[in-house]
C-alpha cells in the first residue's frame, strides 16, 4: 500500500465509522418499531423460567437478612427482585415506589450491583430500606446470569419462583400502577 493510498484510507475512516454507526442506529430504530429492540423492557429469555441460581454475600452492616437463592425457589408468593446501586440516578427515582410496595407487605428482594457496601448502606440510610432481603453482587456475576441490562432492573416472580415480568429502567408510579399491581393481583392466587 503506498503512503498516499494509506493516507486516503485513513481520511476516509471517519466517514466509514459514521456510516457503520448510522446503519446500527437505523437497525435499532427499526427494532424499536417492531419491538425486537427495546432498551427498557428488554424481552428476557428468562421469562417463564425459574430464576437462575446464585450464591451472594450480604451487605455488611446493612442489617437486612441475606437474600439467598433458596428464598425464591420457590418463594410461596409473588415477589419483586430489584437490581440497584447507590450510584444510579433512576434508582433514586424509583425508590419511593419500592418503598410503597414494601409498606404494602410485598416482599421486595434487593441485589446491590457493582456497589461498595458502605455506599449501599449509605443509600439505604438516606432514603430508607424497602428490601426484605438483600445481597451484594459487587463483581456483577449474578447480574450476568440474570441478564441484567443495567441498573435499575426489576423482576417479578410468581409463587413458584417463575420469572413473569422484567423491566429495565426506573419503576415510575405509572409502571407500578399499570404493570406491577395487576401482575401481583394476577399471580396472588
Amino acid at each position: 500500500m503506498t503512503p498516499a493510498l494509506r493516507r486516503r484510507l485513513l481520511l476516509l475512516a471517519p466517514f466509514g465509522i459514521v456510516a457503520a454507526g448510522g446503519a446500527a442506529f437505523y437497525g435499532m430504530l427499526q427494532g424499536l418499531q417492531t419491538g425486537e429492540f427495546n432498551p427498557r423492557g428488554v424481552p428476557s429469555v428468562l421469562i417463564g423460567r425459574p430464576a437462575p441460581a446464585f450464591d451472594l454475600p450480604e451487605v455488611p452492616g446493612a442489617e437486612v437478612p441475606l437474600f439467598r437463592h433458596a428464598d425464591i425457589a420457590p418463594p410461596g408468593r409473588p415477589v419483586i427482585v430489584n437490581f440497584w446501586a447507590s450510584w444510579c440516578v433512576p434508582c433514586v427515582v424509583e425508590h419511593p415506589q419500592l418503598m410503597a410496595l414494601s409498606r404494602e407487605g410485598v416482599p421486595v428482594f434487593g441485589i446491590a450491583y457493582k456497589d461498595r457496601p458502605e455506599d449501599s448502606r449509605g443509600f439505604l440510610r438516606r432514603h430508607g430500606n424497602p428490601f426484605a432481603r438483600l445481597a451484594r453482587d459487587e463483581p456483577g456475576r449474578a447480574a450476568i446470569d440474570w441478564g441484567v441490562y443495567g441498573v435499575p432492573e426489576t423482576y417479578l416472580l410468581d409463587a413458584q419462583g417463575i420469572i413473569r415480568w422484567r423491566f429495565a429502567g426506573a419503576v415510575t408510579p405509572e409502571i407500578l400502577a399499570r404493570e406491577i399491581r395487576p401482575l401481583l393481583r394476577r399471580y396472588a392466587s
Binding site: 481520511l11 471517519p14 435499532m28 430504530l29 424499536l32 430508607g128
Partner: protein, 656 residues
C-alpha cells in the same frame, strides 16, 4: 389564528432556507456576486420568520391557548408566567423551535458581522447553515409541529411537571442550545473550507471566536444542569455519568480540542486537517446527543418524549450532515498539505497533547455511553456501564491533562525545551504542595481528594505564573510588569483565567470528597450536628404555593451554639401531576454548603438529612470562571473578524 400564523411563519422560513441553501452556492460556483450577496438578506429573512414563529408559540403559552395541542400537553393556567414562557422550550416541539431560532440568530450574525470574510467564503458558510436550517425546519414541520390544534379544546392544560418548574432548568436548555448551535457554525466554516479546498491561518482565526463562544456556552449549560441535579435531586451529587449528561459532555470535549487546535492553525498553519475534522466531529456529536435524547434508543430519566419515527428523521439528518461532511473530508483533505512544522516539545506539541487527551476522554465517554446499546443490539449481550467505569477510565487521562495544561502555555512555539518551562513552574509546584498540606491538615488523610487539591492549587498557580511570566515579573520593576500585564492581549488573559477556572472547579470537586452527612429522625426541639454546626428542628408545618402544597420543616442552624441561620427544606406535592418533589435548603458562604433535606414524617418525627459540603460552590464558580475566560478571550481585538481581515489584507500584500 395565532397558531396558523406561527405555522405559516415556519413554512415561510423553510422556503427562505431552501433559497439560502442553494442560491449562494450557485453564485459562488459561477462567480455571480448578486447570487452570493442574496445570502445576507435571505438569512435575515429566515431569522425574522423563525422569530415570528417562536413569538406566536410563546404567545399561545402566555394566554394559555388550549386549542393548541402543545400548550395543552405542556402548560397550565395556574403556572407562574415565568414558567409558562420557559415551558415553551421545556418540551420536544418547542425546544426544536428554540434550536432553529438560535441557529437563525447565529446565521444572521455571520451575515451581518462577517462583512470582512471573503464574499465567496461567506456565501458558502451561509449556504451550509441554510442546509442545516432546511433539515431542522423540515423536521419540525413534518414530525413535530408545535402548532397542532386540538378541538374541542380541553378546559385547561395538563402540563405541570413540577421538576420543570425551576429556574435553573429554565435557562439550562437555551445555554446548551447556543453551545450546540455554535458547533453548527464551526461545522459550516469547515465544510465551506472543504468545498474551497483550502484551509489557512485566516480560517483558524475566523473559526476560533465561534469555537470559543460555543465552548463557553456549553460550559455554562453543563454547569447549570449539574447544579440543578445537585439541589433538585436532593442527594448532593453533581455529576452522574447519565447518558444524557454524557451526550452534552461529548461536544464539549470535542469543542475544547477544537478551540485549542484552531490556535495552532492560526499561528502556525499546522493541524489544519485535524482541526477541520474536529469541527465536523463537534457538530456530529451535538447531533448525536439530539438523536440519543429524542429517539428513544437510550434508557435515561432525562430523555424527551420518545418516538422512533422522529428518530429516523434525526438519524437521516445526522447521516446527511455528518456523513456528508466526512465524505467531503475524505475527498478533499488528502490534498491539504501541512505546512508549519514543529518539534514534539513545543507549544504546538503541548496543544497536540491536549487534543489527544481530550479526544481520548471523548472516546471513553462515547464508548461508555454507547457500547452497552451496541453490544445489546449486535450481540444480544447486556452489559452495564456506570460511574465506576467512567471514573476509572478518565482518571489516567485527566492527570497528564492537568500536568500538561500548566506547562503548555509557558512553552515557546516551534521548538522548546521542557526543562526551562517546568522550572518556571516551581512556584506553582510549591502552591500545589501547600494545597495538599492544607487539605491534609484540615480534612485528614484521603488520598484522591488530597491529590485533587494539590492539582487545583498547582493549576491556579500555573495560570498566575503564565501571566506573571508574560508580564516579565522578576525581570523588570513591579510597576512596569503591572503595566505590561494590563497591556497583554485579552486572549492571553482569557486562557489563563479559563485554566485557573479548571483549578477552581477541581478544588470544588475535591472538596466533595470531604463532604459529610448525617440523617436523623427528629421531634421538634431535637437536633443533629456535624462538626461545629447543629441543626435544631423547630417544627413542621403546611405551606402552599400556586399549584402545590407542601410540608415545610423549620431548622435553626447553630454555629458553636450561637444561632446562625434558618433553613426550611420541604417536600412539595403537586396535586395535578400527583408528584412529590424534594426541595433541598442550601445555605452557602462560597467556602462551604450547608445542605438540608426533609424526608418522610412518622409519628410526630421528621426524617432530616443534613450535609456539610466544603468548597462545593467552587465547582460551579469554577465553571463560570472558565466561561468568563472564554468570553474575555472573545473580546480580544485580534479575534474580531474585522481585525483579522485587516491583517489578512496586509498578508496578501506580501509577495509570496
Amino acid at each position: 389564528m395565532i397558531a396558523e400564523a406561527g405555522h405559516f411563519a415556519l413554512a415561510l422560513a423553510l422556503a427562505l432556507s431552501l433559497a439560502l441553501s442553494t442560491l449562494p452556492l450557485l453564485g459562488a460556483a459561477r462567480g455571480d456576486a448578486a447570487l452570493m450577496e442574496a445570502a445576507r438578506p435571505l438569512s435575515h429573512g429566515v431569522l425574522l420568520t423563525i422569530a415570528a414563529a417562536f413569538g406566536f408559540l410563546a404567545w399561545a403559552y402566555v394566554v394559555n391557548d388550549t386549542t393548541v395541542m402543545n400548550v395543552v400537553q405542556n402548560s397550565h393556567s395556574l403556572k407562574p408566567l415565568l414558567y409558562k414562557i420557559t415551558g415553551v422550550w421545556g418540551n420536544h416541539e418547542g425546544s426544536m423551535v428554540l434550536w432553529v431560532l438560535i441557529l437563525a440568530i447565529c446565521a444572521a450574525s455571520v451575515a451581518a458581522f462577517g462583512g470582512n470574510l471573503p464574499s465567496v467564503f461567506r456565501a458558502r458558510v451561509l449556504a451550509v447553515l441554510g442546509w442545516v436550517l432546511v433539515g431542522f425546519l423540515a423536521f419540525i414541520l413534518l414530525t413535530s409541529n408545535p402548532f397542532e390544534r386540538v378541538w374541542p379544546p380541553p378546559p385547561d392544560g395538563q402540563g405541570l411537571n413540577p421538576l420543570l418548574q425551576d429556574i435553573a432548568l429554565a435557562i439550562h436548555p437555551p445555554l446548551l442550545y447556543v453551545g450546540y448551535v455554535g458547533t453548527a457554525i464551526t461545522y459550516a466554516f469547515a465544510v465551506a473550507a472543504l468545498i474551497e479546498g483550502r484551509v489557512d491561518s485566516a480560517w483558524g482565526r475566523w473559526v476560533r471566536p465561534w469555537a470559543v463562544a460555543s465552548w463557553a456556552f456549553l460550559t455554562l449549560g453543563i454547569a447549570i444542569g449539574s447544579w440543578w441535579a445537585y439541589y433538585e435531586l436532593g442527594w448532593g451529587g453533581f455529576w452522574f455519568w447519565d447518558p444524557v449528561e454524557n451526550a452534552s459532555l461529548l461536544p464539549w470535549l470535542a469543542g475544547t480540542a477544537l478551540l485549542h487546535s484552531a490556535i495552532v492553525v492560526e499561528k502556525r498553519e499546522a493541524l489544519k486537517i485535524w482541526s477541520v475534522l474536529l469541527a465536523l466531529l463537534a457538530f456530529g456529536l451535538s447531533l448525536l446527543g439530539t438523536f440519543l435524547v429524542r429517539s428513544g434508543v437510550l434508557n435515561s430519566v432525562h430523555a424527551f418524549a420518545n418516538d422512533p419515527e422522529r428518530g429516523v428523521f434525526i438519524l437521516g439528518l445526522l447521516l446527511a450532515y455528518v456523513g456528508g461532511g466526512f465524505l467531503l473530508f475524505a475527498l478533499r483533505a488528502p490534498a491539504m498539505a501541512p505546512t508549519g512544522l514543529f518539534a514534539p516539545v513545543s507549544r504546538e506539541g503541548a496543544l497536540v497533547l491536549n487534543n489527544l487527551l481530550m479526544c481520548s476522554l471523548a472516546v471513553v465517554v462515547f464508548l461508555g455511553t454507547l457500547w452497552p446499546m451496541f453490544a445489546d443490539f449486535l450481540f444480544g449481550v447486556s452489559i452495564s456501564v456506570g460511574p465506576p467505569f467512567f471514573n476509572m477510565a478518565s482518571f489516567p487521562l485527566v492527570v497528564p491533562l492537568f500536568l500538561a495544561m500548566a506547562v503548555g502555555p509557558l512553552m515557546p512555539w516551534k521548538r522548546a525545551a521542557l526543562w526551562p518551562a517546568v522550572q518556571r513552574l516551581w512556584a506553582a509546584a510549591v502552591l500545589g504542595l501547600l494545597g495538599f498540606l492544607a487539605a491534609l491538615a484540615i480534612g485528614g488523610w484521603n488520598p484522591l481528594p488530597l491529590l485533587g487539591f494539590a492539582a487545583a492549587a498547582y493549576l491556579i498557580g500555573a495560570a498566575i505564573t503564565d501571566i506573571a511570566d508574560r508580564a516579565g515579573v522578576g525581570r523588570t520593576t513591579l510597576a512596569n510588569a503591572w503595566n505590561r500585564a494590563r497591556g497583554l492581549p485579552r486572549a492571553a488573559w482569557g486562557a489563563a483565567i479559563a485554566h485557573a477556572g479548571v483549578g477552581v472547579c477541581l478544588a470544588g470537586i475535591s472538596g466533595m470528597g470531604f463532604a459529610t452527612e448525617r440523617i436523623a429522625a427528629l421531634s421538634p426541639g431535637q437536633s443533629v450536628a456535624i462538626g461545629a454546626y447543629e441543626w435544631r428542628l423547630e417544627g413542621v408545618r403546611d405551606a402552599a404555593g400556586p399549584n402545590w402544597t407542601s410540608r415545610r420543616a423549620t431548622l435553626t442552624v447553630l454555629h458553636n451554639g450561637q444561632p446562625y441561620a434558618v433553613m426550611e427544606p420541604e417536600r412539595r406535592f403537586f396535586p395535578i401531576g400527583r408528584q412529590t418533589t424534594t426541595e433541598a435548603s442550601i445555605r452557602t458562604n462560597i467556602l462551604r454548603d450547608l445542605y438540608a433535606v426533609m424526608g418522610e414524617e412518622e409519628g410526630g418525627r421528621a426524617v432530616i438529612r443534613v450535609h456539610y459540603k466544603p468548597l462545593a460552590p467552587l465547582i460551579w464558580i469554577g465553571a463560570i470562571i472558565m466561561a468568563a475566560g472564554g468570553f474575555l478571550s472573545l473580546s480580544d481585538r485580534r479575534l474580531r473578524v474585522a481585525g483579522g481581515a485587516r491583517r489578512r489584507e496586509a498578508q496578501a500584500g506580501v509577495p509570496a
